[in-house]
């Protein structure tokens, strides 16, 4: 039924609409530079950008561009300007006008848990899709124990999820020192009394205690002994480490994505790390079972979202389809991963320093630092 009062739409409700391909017309009223940099995409959404300051004298001129009789979502950075514009649309007689509660900041923080599959002896693997920013976290659950991988700073989501599953978090692991988002691994471990694992080669500048994550160390979750087997796979960072979980899943961190590969430049050492990246992708990964399901730490575009929002692909399929795994010469590879790279993620240097424990921004500052897409891949296909 059509309603004339404006309604709030939560980030969670928006995620459901996108993942179920429901139609939605999004009017983004942020300034055009912000819109061009990062916007809501995916599903059956259609998007129009008109900055709110072009609508200060009323929405009459914009009405022609906004379809009548459809659900409209007005979006801004925080919320205020979207309410301002949504109210004017409702006053102009439009029905079913919504605004995004908490704006793009809330959208950036929303996590959608998606079940990836069952593990041996009743264990489960979940992926947490940060749909607004393109980050992916994981939780391995088995027999009342849990391990969280590449945890985001919204640690309460992981805590609540583990609690609902009746599990205690025993381990938190980061595949590498992240540059696009603030890791929640250390905080989550601290809250739960768990062990925080980090690759030592990425941790040379950190100012806190951690457990070195190295090849040969196996981590088990639950009595059924779900194995997490680390594989040293440098290239995105010098310490980057992948995990094989339960001999079925390859958690590839920021080394291999579904449609792209990791960029080697975010720690300022692109030229030095190109050869490592090449070796990891073309030798180390080639030596793994093609049946493994690749579960990366990011996606770049909404087209990478599969069923229910899941981002996953068979390793053998990626050897055929992923352009980053099909570059013949070393020179071409070097050019592909060092030239014409997209801009770096927002505040990536501050984010790296925060993940080292060297900066301690408050929550609002953390939100600001994380605004924008992840941009950890060398390119979009």
């Amino acid at each position: 039924m059509a309603t004339t009062a404006i309604q709030a739409m939560t980030a969670q409700a928006l995620a459901k609409i996108i993942l179920s391909y429901e139609k939605l017309f999004i009017l983004d009223v942020r300034n055009t530079a912000e819109f061009d940099n990062w916007k809501i995409e995916g599903g059956a959404t259609e998007t129009l950008n008109i900055p709110y300051f072009d609508l200060l004298d009323g929405v009459d001129e914009a009405l022609g561009q906004i379809p009548d009789g459809r659900d409209i979502l007005v979006v801004c950075a925080k919320e205020g300007s979207s309410v301002f514009v949504a109210e004017q649309l409702a006053e102009a007689g439009r029905t079913d006008v919504h605004y995004l509660k908490g704006g793009m900041k809330a959208w950036s923080e929303h996590l959608e848990p998606v079940k990836v599959g069952d593990l041996k002896d009743g264990g489960e693997l979940y992926q947490f899709v940060r749909i607004g920013k393109g980050c992916l976290s994981y939780m391995v659950l088995s027999d009342g124990e849990a391990a969280a991988i590449d945890t985001l700073r919204m640690v309460e989501v992981f805590e609540r999820f583990a609690k609902d599953k009746g599990a205690t978090i025993k381990h938190t692991l980061d595949t590498h020192l992240h540059a696009d988002h603030i890791s929640g691994g250390r905080q989550l471990a601290e809250n739960a009394g768990a062990t925080y694992w980090l690759p030592p080669k990425d941790a040379t500048e950190v100012v806190f205690e951690y457990e070195p994550l190295e090849e040969g160390k196996e981590i088990t979750v639950g009595r059924s002994r779900i194995r997490i087997q680390p594989i040293y796979s440098p290239g995105h960072t010098i310490g980057s480490t992948s995990f094989i979980v339960d001999d079925q899943y390859l958690l590839s961190g920021d080394i291999l994505f579904v449609e792209s590969i990791g960029r080697p430049d975010l720690a300022g050492k692109a030229e030095d790390w190109v050869a490592d990246l090449r070796t990891t992708l073309y030798e180390t990964y080639r030596g793994l079972a093609e049946e493994l399901t690749v579960l990366p730490a990011h996606f770049g575009k909404a087209t990478e979202l599969g069923e229910g929002g899941k981002v996953a692909a068979r390793l053998g399929d990626l050897f055929k389809s992923n352009p980053g795994l099909n570059i013949r010469s070393d020179e071409e590879f070097r050019a592909a991963v060092t030239k014409n790279l997209p801009p770096q993620p927002n505040a990536y240097q501050e984010i790296r320093r925060t993940n080292m424990g060297r900066l301690t921004p408050d929550e609002e500052e953390q939100r600001e630092m994380e605004m924008g897409p992840n941009r950890c891949a060398v390119h979009d296909k």
Binding site: T32, A33, P51, F53, D54, L56, K78, G80, S81
Partner: protein, 192 residues
Amino acid sequence: MTAIIQTNRMLNCEGLACPMPVVRTKKTMEEMKAGEVLEVRATDNGSVADLQSWASRTGHQYIGMKEEGGVFRHFLRKSPENETKPETKHPHVIGNEELNRRMADGAAFTIVDVREPAEYSFHRIPGAISIPLGELEQKLDLLPKDGEYAVVCRTGTRSDLACQLLAERGYSAVRNVVPGMSAWEGPAERDE
């Protein structure tokens, strides 16, 4: 320390979130006269990009911004309609590049910047003296009649009026800098 920049009006938007800083700025600018300068104080960091975009879309001049202790001090000047199409009347002009070249050669002339103090404070030619157009008539005794002058503003319009005034008052060596600070590529400085 809060730097003192002379403006015609101050609008306090501290503590207000989007869209209010832009809404109030628009309303205040409507009440002001063309050429006047407004300072907007805001704490919402969304105001930075939005006020700049709003100004460029509406044709007002965004002069600059200073951040002091979490407060963004924005300076905007209400642009008169005619400023985009300058109607030059003073016959003697000097191009930006030529002025720059002559300065480098050490030519002895005085640069008079007739923009508002806020504009001067954010971007000026080193050594230029600030006499806003509206005060020029009262401050003529600062400028010896036998001196050689280059008069500059943002686009050449205000400086043209200033040149005409100086010529009327018997100054013989006065040149209007065109187009002026909006396209200035030579050395520049600002208040710290």
